[in-house]
């Protein structure tokens, strides 16, 4: 039973390599996009931290700015 699943009558190498390539490609793309997203979130938070109190008030009016900061915390958890 296990042998049939692994070797698949001689086609195992082809089948498993096709599925492995697909899953590795997915994982690589996901990691790459995630790293870029976290990098931009951190950049945004660092810039936000340097703003004066008045500018922070203005920036916080926009809901998107608040969302970015909240999501940065939740993605770290």
């Amino acid at each position: 039973m296990i042998n049939e699943v692994i070797f698949m009558k001689g086609y195992g190498l082809y089948v498993w390599s096709a599925f492995s390539f697909t899953l590795i490609s997915f994982a690589s793309l996901y990691m790459l996009i995630k790293i870029n997203l976290v990098k931009e979130q951190n950049k945004f938070a660092a810039k936000f931290g340097l703003l004066s109190k008045e500018k922070v008030k203005v920036a916080k009016i926009q809901s998107t700015n608040r969302e970015i900061l909240v999501n940065r915390i939740s993605s770290k958890i």
Binding site: Y14, A18, F19, F44, A59
Partner: protein, 235 residues
């Protein structure tokens, strides 16, 4: 007209949706993998090598579908000068590009046991390779042109030109005598594929679509944060 699609309005949805889409993708992918690798029957001619179809076909479908969407969004963005459509199109490209590579590589792996060769300059395979070139040009153009106006124009032209290739991919197996088999799944006419093989194929297609949606949302959020970063400079 397109006020509902304004970035500020949809960011709260797109930023929260990723974790739910990720969870759903993992569940559907696991079901699809069990169906594709263990539960679906082997083919009476191709034996177990037919299982490659469950990653090859959905990735080809998804990459073509994403390119169609990119071209459509580019046309709308070109006509209505709506920048958000170009951001959406840009965010769709990475997953389409990877699905195109997966379709070509898994097709090549499938070709060896069935045709006896890794590669053939067959009409379907060559047109899929041309699609990959269009994807590469589209992604590169966004990187090369730093001025947004130029980037939007050039990428729109690339996407619209690439659109010509899509019907060629679809009908290549009918127009030319090719190594590649004609389609077994048809929406308008009766499909020649057995339901026991159609089910895992549809589940894997759903999983791949969810993955492309996940990548799109993450990339779209990244692009919006980039814009907001520039906005902070202007305060």
């Amino acid at each position: 007209m397109f006020k509902i699609l304004e970035p500020n309005k949809i960011f709260s949805i797109t930023s929260k949706a990723t974790k739910y889409i990720f969870f759903l993708f993992i569940v559907v992918l696991c079901i699809g993998l069990v169906e594709a690798l263990f539960l679906s029957p082997e083919d009476y001619i191709q034996s177990h090598s037919v299982r490659i179809m469950y990653v090859h076909v959905p990735s080809a479908w998804t990459s073509i579908g994403i390119f169609l969407l990119i071209a459509l969004l580019s046309i709308i963005s070109f006509i209505f000068k709506n920048k958000n459509f170009s951001i959406i199109a840009k965010s769709l490209a990475p997953s389409g590009f990877v699905f195109n590579i997966v379709a070509l590589v898994t097709g090549s792996i499938w070709g060896k046991p069935t045709w006896g060769t890794w590669w053939a300059w067959d009409a379907r395979i060559t047109s899929m390779l041309i699609l990959l070139l269009f994807y590469s040009m589209y992604i590169l153009a966004w990187r090369i042109f730093s001025e947004k106006e130029n980037a939007v124009k050039i990428t729109s032209i690339i996407a619209i030109l690439g659109l010509i290739n899509v019907p060629i991919i679809k009908f290549s197996v009918d127009w030319w005598s090719t190594l590649h088999q004609s389609s077994s799944v048809n929406i308008l006419s009766e499909s020649s594929i057995h339901p026991s093989m159609l089910l895992p194929l549809l589940i894997m297609t759903a999983a791949f679509s969810l993955f492309s949606l996940l990548i799109f949302l993450m990339k779209y959020n990244t692009e919006l944060i980039k814009i907001k970063n520039k906005g902070l400079n202007r305060l």
